[in-house]
Amino acid sequence: MTAPRRDGEPLLRFEDVGRGYGDGPHAVRALGPVRFDVRSGELVAVMGPSGSGKTTLLSLAGALERPTEGRVLLRGRDLATLSAPARAALRRRDIGYVFQDLNLLPGLTALENVSLPLELDGVRLAAAREEARAALDAVGLASLAARFPDDLSGGERQRVAIARAFVGPRELLLADEPTGNLDSVTGERVLRHLRAACDGGRTAILVTHDPSHAGWADRVLFLRDGVLVDEAASGAGCLVRVEDGP
């Protein structure tokens, strides 16, 4: 999307959004109604027990599903009103996804995996490769660009998936448990990259059940039975010491 950003307008808005499945007595409401905004540059975590609607919320934010109630607005545009090609283009250009199943193509190198979405979008090969290299560099993997996914560690594959999600001009990253079963030091490295991307102006929604990962977020939304029950937003309050670090 090329709409100019207006000050104060949220990047993403959930306007009384609900998502139900099935009809009549078998109808199930997986989410909603929920209402919240995500501003540019924010890292928002979503937490809640299994079945509370976290993944549904992410699918709606990423235009992978349509709401059955309310509207999901990305920079003011109602995702449900987009034509199928426009929605496909949006998913390719504006939104990056990191799911538990990373979906890296085993026959392509790290660099080719990251470059592919740009190539599919018509970017010239040399330019796409250059952007992909920069994205890999941003997650500290420039030296492994020529490796195939099978020759990378779990943490490295995860970072390739993040580089792919953030390559090009995309500004919204949707991550569903992106650290999977990584050990804590590697998981923290992934979170640091995500945080750095948001500090650099990108925006991310992170679904996680790991409180220490949610701790990296600016805001944490708590979902229960499909509705938002609370929100934690860290102030600049003091702890441990009065001063800001040593």
């Binding site: 027990p49 640091r192 945080r195 790991d210 409180p211 220490s212 949610a214 701790g215 990296w216 977020a217 600016d218 944490v220 708590f222 029950v229 609370d230 929100e231 934690a232 937003a233 860290s234 102030g235 600049a236 309050g237 702890l239 441990v240 010491r241 001063e243 800001d244 670090g245 040593p246």
Partner: protein
């Protein structure tokens, strides 16, 4: 926290005067537990009485330096060699509050749990923000302390989830 043993740990490296001990203790523990210098002098006199430290010759008063004795080293080795036991557990206000809320029928435990969850998550976010700003190589004690605080907050959040799930099972 054992102040006497902490002072012995610092003296095991090299001799120090009272204020130096205070500074090195705070530096090693990321400044999380400030020591009162008066407390340091009182403790040093107790350690001297017990034969664990000795005043060094030379200047007296505030410049008086202290060194660890062989008996002091033995006491210190014993301390480092003994795992920390939290059994019976130290008094923990959150556990006590939630258990008493469960016992008191008129109180909405879910509400207490939810409020605490938000507060603990906000604390965890603040710790994480400090960790982001810390350089783990140059500020190792500070980073390790933040790791400990983050994991404690995480344990608290997981416990709150479990409380809620168990109460829901019992229909409360």
């Amino acid at each position: 926290m054992s102040i006497p043993l902490s002072l012995l740990a610092i003296l095991s490296d090299r001799s120090a005067h009272g204020y130096g001990l205070k500074s090195r203790f705070e530096e090693s523990t990321a400044g999380a537990w400030p020591l009162n210098v008066g407390q340091v002098y009182t403790t040093l006199r107790r350690l001297e009485r017990d034969g664990l430290v000795l005043p060094e010759e030379g200047e007296g008063g505030a410049r008086q330096t202290w060194r660890i004795t062989d008996a002091g080293r033995t006491a210190l080795e014993e301390w480092f060699g003994t795992p920390v036991e939290d059994d019976p557990p130290a008094r923990d206000e959150l556990s006590i509050k939630v258990l008493l809320a469960v016992a008191a029928d008129a109180v909405d435990v879910t509400d207490i749990v939810q409020r605490q969850r938000v507060a603990t998550m906000e604390r965890l976010q603040r710790y994480t923000r400090r960790k982001r700003a810390a350089d783990p190589e140059r500020e190792l004690p500070w980073t390790l302390l933040l790791d400990a605080l983050i994991l404690k907050a995480e344990a608290e959040l997981k416990w709150l989830d479990l409380c809620e799930a168990r109460l829901a099972e019992r229909g409360r």
